[in-house]
């Protein structure tokens, strides 16, 4: 469905020295610098998949999404979606896609929301019966009724985002590009938007590419993730695999009467683990051990702790995806040094 092959995008930037003097200098003797926003990005997405496209700020996510939607022309490399190259056949291509850029809106700012849908109906040539059915469907999953008659500029961020997502789904696109659709929203609205994405994916086999910084979005929605950093692929696989490969960290929480004797130093010495593989946090009654389960099985850690102190309660936490991603990002930073 979606093929991205060695996508690369360079921007030319004029370097200015600070101040007015610098601006003048740049005007007459521009010093050009090439910025590589995406260096070499490749991935495939099969039909009906929800792909989490993630990476730290400035990794090049938006640049890639903009190349896939046809807004930017790649410096080199190629993308094909449904067999079409976005830049070559723009008009026919964009009929099949919907896009939401969380930081921007495509709604008519000064007019009641429903006017936007009426215009989009004509632009995408949705016939009356289909339009009515579609609006009912969108109303139901995104709860637009309450504000559909209000001018867009008066909508709250959550309402606006729901309205924008509805706008992108109006013409039943085959592919949906969502660039940070949950940014800055409260839990209820986030949940609402996630439900909508899931529903449309399930009922219409819409392929979805989603960028987000919200880990729950990924956990709840995405079949697969592609992670990029500094314009390059870092990881491509399922969430499950990511956990298997990088998520060796386990966390045990013990509730004890007295944990004053349990220090990090003692644990490291007793278990022969270094500071990368074992971290301990403790407060009055709780005592938390985070450790690498590849170096030491969970059972042994349990036994060791129990031999040192009396434990009232135990809980085991699975590898936190947020933690895994943080580690991956950090690895990227280290490899740079």
């Amino acid at each position: 469905m979606i093929y991205a092959e060695h996508l690369r995008k360079e921007f030319k930037k004029i370097v200015k020295e600070p101040g007015l003097k610098g601006s003048f200098k740049a005007l007459f003797k521009p010093l050009k610098e090439t910025v590589v926003a995406a260096e070499d990005i490749s991935f495939h997405v099969p039909k009906g998949e929800i792909l989490g496209f993630i990476g730290p700020n400035g990794a090049g996510k938006s640049t890639v999404i903009k190349m896939l939607t046809g807004i930017l022309t790649p410096t080199s490399g190629e993308c094909r979606i449904n067999g079409k190259v976005p830049q070559n056949d723009r008009k026919n291509y964009v009929r099949e896609i919907g896009a939401v850029f969380g930081q921007r809106t495509q709604l008519w700012w000064d007019l009641p929301l429903q006017e936007t849908y009426l215009v989009l109906k004509e632009i995408y040539e949705v016939d009356d019966a289909k339009f009515k059915k579609r609006m009912d469907f969108l109303n139901e999953i995104l709860e637009l009724e309450k504000f559909i008659k209000s001018p867009v500029r008066t909508l709250s961020l959550g309402q606006r985002m729901r309205a924008d997502i509805a706008a992108s789904m109006l013409h039943s696109p085959k592919v949906l590009f969502l660039d940070e659709p949950t940014i800055g929203l409260d839990v209820v609205v986030k949940d609402n938007i996630r439900q909508a994405i899931m529903k449309i994916n399930k009922e219409e086999q819409t392929t979805v590419i989603l960028t987000t910084h919200d880990i729950s979005d990924i956990e709840l929605l995405c079949d697969r993730i592609v992670m990029i950093d500094k314009g390059k692929n870092v990881y491509d696989g399922s969430l499950h695999e990511l956990r298997e490969n990088y998520g060796q960290t386990r966390e045990l929480v013990f509730e004890t009467d007295n944990n004053s004797k349990l220090t990090e130093e003692e644990f490291r010495k007793g278990l022969k683990l270094n500071e990368n593989d074992l971290v301990i946090e403790s407060d009055k009654n709780n005592f938390k051990v985070r450790f690498n389960s590849r170096k030491l099985p969970v059972g042994e850690m349990l036994g060791y702790t129990l031999s040192l102190t009396k434990v009232k309660d135990i809980s085991v936490k699975d590898a936190d995806i947020e933690e895994i991603i943080r580690n991956l990002y950090r690895q990227g930073e280290k490899s740079d040094e």
Binding site: S62, L111, I123
Partner: protein
């Protein structure tokens, strides 16, 4: 074609509704354009209190040329005003994105989005001046001259629009080109008077380089004299067509160079 017209009407209607929401803004705009026109006409009055003729043209004839030049200008202003915004901020802020993800030609979409009612000022003044000046201007009225000069009007407007497309497109490379549009557009002042009052380099410039002379003086000259239809009217059609083709080419090149804006 039917679809294009339907979309145009819808987009333009959205714009009108928006204008209704901001009435004070609209009124201020319309009044300021009327003042602008009044100053231009007063200037001609003052000149003619000092001299009986200007480059061989009488007061009425000059008014006629002035009036004629306002009609293509107003037409372009009415229909293609949004190009200014492309040059000033749509590209710079990355708001051009939305035109690229809709199944409508982006140039058409940008233009259709605004219907600039302020332009009625120019159209009304232009037509009023034509009516006022016609009886005394010694026009060469035949079906032929009237028909050809009416045909020339949309093509003359296309000269304005094409020049705006070219200069607005520069924003795709320069990020902002509003002042360049302003500079080129400002040269339309030359269209209001006979080119014979200018020195030869200026005359060549406004005829062949930034061809504003074809939006006012030359087509008016044709109705005034009935002479040289090939150059005076054919020139408008040829130059505007060539300019439009060039402008669309540059615009499309610009779209491939478009860099959007962060996040």
């Amino acid at each position: 074609m039917k679809r294009i017209w339907k979309i145009y009407r819808l987009l333009a209607a959205q714009n009108l509704k928006r204008i209704m929401e901001y009435r004070a803004d609209f009124l201020t705009g319309a009044v300021s354009f009327l003042i602008d026109q009044a100053v231009g006409i007063a200037f001609i009055f003052i000149i003619f209190t000092q001299i009986p003729q200007l480059a061989g043209f009488t007061f009425e004839q000059i008014l006629f040329i002035y009036g004629f030049s306002q009609i293509p200008k107003g037409l372009d202003h009415l229909l293609a005003d949004n190009l200014w915004c492309v040059g000033y901020f749509i590209v710079r802020k990355g708001d051009f994105d939305k035109y690229l993800i809709r199944p409508v030609n982006p140039l058409f979409h940008v233009i259709a989005e605004t219907f600039q009612v302020d332009a009625i000022g120019e159209l009304v003044v232009g037509i009023a001046l034509l009516i006022y000046a016609s009886p005394g201007a010694g026009l060469h009225i035949t079906i032929w001259t009237i028909l050809l000069s009416i045909i020339a009007v949309p093509f003359a407007a296309l000269i304005y629009t094409s020049l705006k497309i070219i200069t607005a497109s520069l924003a795709f490379w320069l990020k902002s080109s509003g002042f360049i549009i302003q500079m080129v557009y400002g040269m339309n002042e030359f269209s209001k008077y006979p080119t014979t009052i200018y020195s030869l380099p200026v005359r060549i410039f406004v005829t062949y380089i930034i061809p504003f002379a074809f939006t006012g003086y030359y087509p008016s000259l044709f109705i005034l004299t009935g002479n040289n239809a090939l150059f005076n009217i054919g020139g408008v059609i040829a130059i505007s067509s060539v300019l439009f083709v060039i402008s669309v080419f540059i615009w499309n090149k610009g779209i491939s160079a478009y860099e959007s804006a962060g996040a």
